[in-house]
Symmetry: C2
Subunit: 243 residues, 2 copies
């Protein structure tokens, strides 16, 4: 079973204060880039793997999605999601993505934001998603970028010239990474970017778009601290299709 | 026109001593990984963009390739290639990849090793390659990895724990990078990994495989200095198809 940090009270209290949890999709600087990757949602059957507070599920319904299945490991997250929703077309369920099974050819879009880097057996999950999509259906997801995750001690350094610099080491050593983030010892799984893409290709997906999120000039003007996100990518955004 | 460092005498003298120039394909640790990506060559019409001394062209013929067009900007490189070959099915020509045009639907494989990061207008070249491939034809190429190229001062550092670490900064700032390598001020073009992939997708290619070369345990046992290549990827290997 995946580590369930989201039901750790200390973690949950801190996590709930993040702009993207308080303000929803518009609190995430990468959201416009994700929205550009999505297929039309009118009439679509949507699954959101790691749905958290349900921001994306509710937004999908405003775009005309026919139904949304929101899956999350955290009962805390789903309790909050249910408080915020009274929509019989949204179904929230507690599920561990490490072992989840999904119905066959049941979705037009499988979406996931910043959840898959907690999953150890990514090839199994990708095969499960592939069979759950209708032909022509899309998988759109974000993960922490492997450049961001790889190093043993991933935090800003200064290079010889004093420039803010991100350390990379152990890039080809895939597997567990442990960091402190609102709580100690958060467990994530580092995979090379090529590995993530090849797992999708091996499962039968066709790749549509690969974006390494960097804030726009307008975003940096509005929020200058975002400029460090241009030094190294923190997030990887991928769009793929079941052909 | 692309910078022609290969006809700089100082550069050429140093470059010619590299194991991969002296020993050919087997002198390049990434060669087995590239070979795994290639389509069957029996009867294939091959183009090699940035063919250098012609090692790949000659090897292709041993695998049954029907013809090989070897293109390179450097007259020095091609002179050496011609000295090493007497095979009327191999045609070497001096061409600048920045402006090169290629015949339509003429090739079953377009191959390129460590040349495209010298090209400023990569989208133009990729469109040119796409129309030069027969339907079902493959593009297999290697470039310096953007993790390797991005930083303003790309050389090993030590992190706070003293671990050998590669610096990344300016990752989202694409464009010119200048480094010293056998000669001062070598001009290369940094593109994000996602940008390279999206250029291929936009031109109509279907992605088949994306490998970030890391040496195997056997390679490190035979050549221990290779172990640093596991800390950060130096090379990106891509296989794509014209569907």
């Amino acid at each position: 079973m995946a580590q369930n940090i989201y039901d750790d009270p200390e973690f949950f209290a801190g996590y709930s204060t993040l702009p993207r949890q308080v303000h929803g999709l518009d609190g995430a600087p990468e959201w416009p880039a994700i929205a550009d990757m999505l297929p039309p949602l009118a009439g679509a059957r949507v699954a959101d793997l790691g749905c958290g507070f349900g921001w994306f599920a509710r937004w999908s319904r405003t775009q005309g999605a026919a139904s949304v299945l929101g899956l999350d490991l955290s009962r805390n997250m789903l309790a909050r999601a249910r408080e915020m929703t009274s929509d019989s077309a949204i179904d929230y369920r507690t599920v561990d993505l490490e072992t989840a099974t999904l119905p066959s050819a049941a979705f037009d879009l499988v979406y996931s934001a910043l959840a898959f880097h907690y999953v150890a057996d990514f090839p199994r999950l990708v095969r499960e998603i592939h069979q759950s999509l209708a032909l022509g259906g899309a998988l759109v997801f974000t993960i922490e970028h492997p450049i961001y995750m790889a190093a043993a001690d991933p935090r800003w350094e200064l290079d010889r010239q004093g420039r803010k610099t991100w350390p990379v080491n152990g890039y080809a050593s895939e597997g567990e990474r442990r960091t402190d983030w609102f709580a100690p010892n958060i467990l994530k799984y580092h995979r090379m970017l090529g590995t993530t893409l090849n797992i999708l290709l091996d499962a039968g997906f066709s790749l549509r778009r690969v974006e390494e999120f960097a804030p726009t000039d307008e975003q940096i003007a509005a929020q200058p601290t975002l400029s460090e996100e241009r030094e190294r990518p923190m997030m990887l955004l991928i769009s793929a299709l079941r052909p």
